[in-house]
C-alpha cells in the first residue's frame, strides 16, 4: 500500500505540487499524464525524496516519512522501498551493465556477491541483454541503456517502481523495446507509478490514469473513462492536443 498525504512542494515562489493526496493499491499500475511543467516528475521525485517536499507524508509499505520531521535513516528506508527509472537512464557510468544491476543488491541490500550476480544475470536475460553484460553504458544504445535501467530497478524487488518519462529521451526507434519491457514488468503485478507521454501505452497498461495540471490531480479514473469520457475542460484540451 502506497499513501501520499498532503504533499506540497515549492520551488521559490512557485508551488509545483499543491496538497496532493493519492493512494495506490499493491499491484496497481498508475499512469500520470498532463502538460509539461505541471509537477508530474516532481511528484515522482518527492516520493523518494530526490526532491524534498515542503509538507506532506509518504508511506510506502512499512515506511512512513513526514516532510516536517524527516530523518536521514527514514529517507534511506523510503528510497530502499522504491526503485526509480530515470528519463536520462542514470546508469552508473563506471560500471558494466551487469554491475549496474548488481550494485544495489551488493552494496545496499548486502546480499552475497554470487547470489547478486545470479539474479543480475537472470534479469539481464529477461531484458534480452545477456550478451551485453560486460558492456559499459557508453557502449550501449539509448534503448539498451534504458532496459538496463529498468533491470536495475527490477532487481531491487521494491514495493513501488517509479518511472520518470522513461522513453522521452529515446530515439523513436528504441521506444518500442523499452515499452515492451515495461509491459512485461506490469504483467507481474508490480506496483508502478509512471509518468509518460505515451498515451496508447498508458491506455494499455494502466489500472488508473491521473491527469495533473497546475500542481494538482485534476481528474482520475480507469483509462477508458479518462481517455474516452473526459470531464474537465483542461483534460479535454490536453487530450485533443496530444491526439494531434
Amino acid at each position: 500500500m502506497i499513501r501520499i498525504e498532503g504533499l506540497t512542494k515549492r520551488f521559490g515562489e512557485t508551488t509545483v505540487l499543491n496538497n496532493i493526496n493519492l493512494e495506490i493499491e499493491d499491484g496497481e499500475r498508475v499512469v500520470i499524464i498532463g502538460p509539461s511543467g505541471t509537477g508530474k516528475s516532481t511528484l515522482l521525485r518527492c516520493v523518494n525524496f530526490l526532491d524534498r517536499p515542503d509538507a506532506g507524508r509518504i508511506t510506502v509499505g512499512a515506511v512512513t516519512v513526514d516532510a516536517a520531521h524527516s530523518r536521514k535513516r527514514e529517507i534511506l528506508a523510503l528510497r530502499r522501498a522504491t526503485a526509480m527509472v530515470f528519463q536520462n537512464y542514470g546508469l552508473f557510468a563506471n560500471k558494466t551493465a551487469l554491475e549496474n544491476i548488481m550494485e544495489a543488491l551488493v552494496t545496499v541490500q548486502k546480499r552475497p556477491r554470487q547470489e547478486a550476480e545470479q539474479r543480475a544475470r537472470d534479469i539481464l536475460s529477461e531484458t534480452g541483454l545477456s550478451d551485453k553484460a560486460d558492456n559499459y553504458p557508453a557502449s550501449l544504445s539509448g534503448g539498451q541503456q534504458q532496459r538496463v535501467g529498468i533491470g536495475r530497478a527490477m532487481a531491487i524487488g521494491s514495493e513501488l517502481m517509479l518511472f520518470d518519462e522513461p522513453t522521452s529521451a529515446l530515439d523513436p526507434e528504441w521506444v518500442g523495446e523499452v515499452l515492451d519491457l515495461m509491459r512485461s514488468v506490469a504483467q507481474k503485478r508490480q506496483t508502478m507509478l509512471i509518468v509518460t507521454h505515451e498515451m496508447r501505452f498508458a491506455r494499455d497498461i494502466a489500472d488508473r490514469v491521473l491527469f495533473m495540471d497546475g500542481g494538482r490531480i485534476v481528474e482520475q479514473g480507469p483509462p477508458e473513462q479518462v481517455f474516452d469520457a473526459p470531464q474537465d475542460a483542461r483534460l479535454k484540451r490536453f487530450l485533443s492536443r496530444v491526439a494531434g
Binding site: 530526490l50 563506471n94 552494496t107 559499459y136 557508453a138 557502449s139
Partner: protein, 224 residues
C-alpha cells in the same frame, strides 16, 4: 672553455642513481598521504560542513599561498622550538610532512572540481537506490572523479618527485644532497649537476609512460 669530463660523469651515475630509491620512496609516501588527505579535504569542500569548511579553506589557502621551502623550514627548524615533542623530527620526516600538506592543498582543489564535474544523474541514481553518502562517494562519485582528476594528479606527482630535492636543504642526503657532496669534492659542478638533472629527467619520463597507461585504463569504461 673546457671539455666535459665524461669519464667522471659515468662514474657518478651509479653513485647518484643509488639515491633514486630514497627519492622515490619519499615522493611515493608523500603522494599517498597527500591523496588521502586531499580526498578528505575535497569531500568536505563539496559537503561544506559548517565550521570545518572554514578551517579547510584556511588550510588550503595557507599551504597554497606560501612557498614549499618556507613550509619545510617551518616544520624542520621552527616547529621543534614551539612543540618540544617534535625535537626528534628528522629531515626525511619533515620533508614528507611538508610535501604531503603542500600538495594535498593543491590536489584537493583538483579533486573537488572533478567531484563537482560528475553528472547530476549519477548522484541521483545512487541516492535513488538508497545508498548512504559514503557508499555513493566510494562506489560511484569518486571512481568517476578519478578519471577526470588523474592527469592533473600525475602532474603533481611529477612535481613532487622534483620537489624532493628540497630535502637537501634539511640536511637529507638524497639525490641532490649526494650530487652536492660529489661536486664539492671534485669541483666539477657542471658535470655533477648535469648527471643529476638527467637522472631526474629519466625518472619523470618513465612516469609519463605509466601515466599514459593509467589514463587508458581509467578511460576504458567510457569508450564508445
Amino acid at each position: 672553455m673546457r671539455g666535459l669530463d665524461l669519464e667522471y660523469m659515468l662514474g657518478l651515475v651509479p653513485v647518484i642513481a643509488g639515491y633514486i630509491p630514497l627519492t622515490l620512496a619519499i615522493a611515493a609516501l608523500a603522494m599517498l598521504l597527500a591523496l588521502v588527505l586531499a580526498v578528505a579535504l575535497a569531500v568536505e569542500r563539496v559537503a561544506r560542513v559548517p565550521v570545518l569548511d572554514a578551517l579547510v579553506l584556511l588550510f588550503i589557502s595557507f599551504f597554497r599561498g606560501t612557498p614549499l621551502l618556507v613550509q619545510l623550514f617551518l616544520f624542520y627548524y621552527g616547529l621543534p622550538q614551539v612543540l618540544s615533542f617534535l625535537t626528534a623530527i628528522d629531515g626525511v620526516t619533515a620533508t614528507i610532512m611538508g610535501l604531503t600538506l603542500h600538495f594535498a592543498a593543491y590536489m584537493a582543489e583538483t579533486i573537488r572540481a572533478a567531484i563537482t564535474g560528475v553528472d547530476r544523474s549519477q548522484w541521483e541514481a545512487a541516492q535513488s537506490i538508497g545508498m548512504t553518502q559514503v557508499q555513493m562517494m566510494s562506489r560511484v562519485i569518486l571512481p568517476q572523479a578519478a578519471r577526470t582528476a588523474a592527469p592533473t594528479l600525475v602532474n603533481y606527482f611529477i612535481d613532487m618527485i622534483k620537489a624532493t630535492s628540497l630535502a637537501f636543504t634539511l640536511g637529507v642526503t638524497e639525490m641532490m644532497g649526494a650530487t652536492q657532496k660529489e661536486a664539492a669534492g671534485s669541483f666539477l659542478y657542471f658535470e655533477a649537476f648535469l648527471v643529476a638533472a638527467v637522472l631526474y629527467w629519466i625518472m619523470v619520463e618513465a612516469l609519463s609512460q605509466l601515466q599514459k597507461r593509467l589514463e587508458t585504463r581509467l578511460n576504458k569504461a567510457y569508450a564508445r
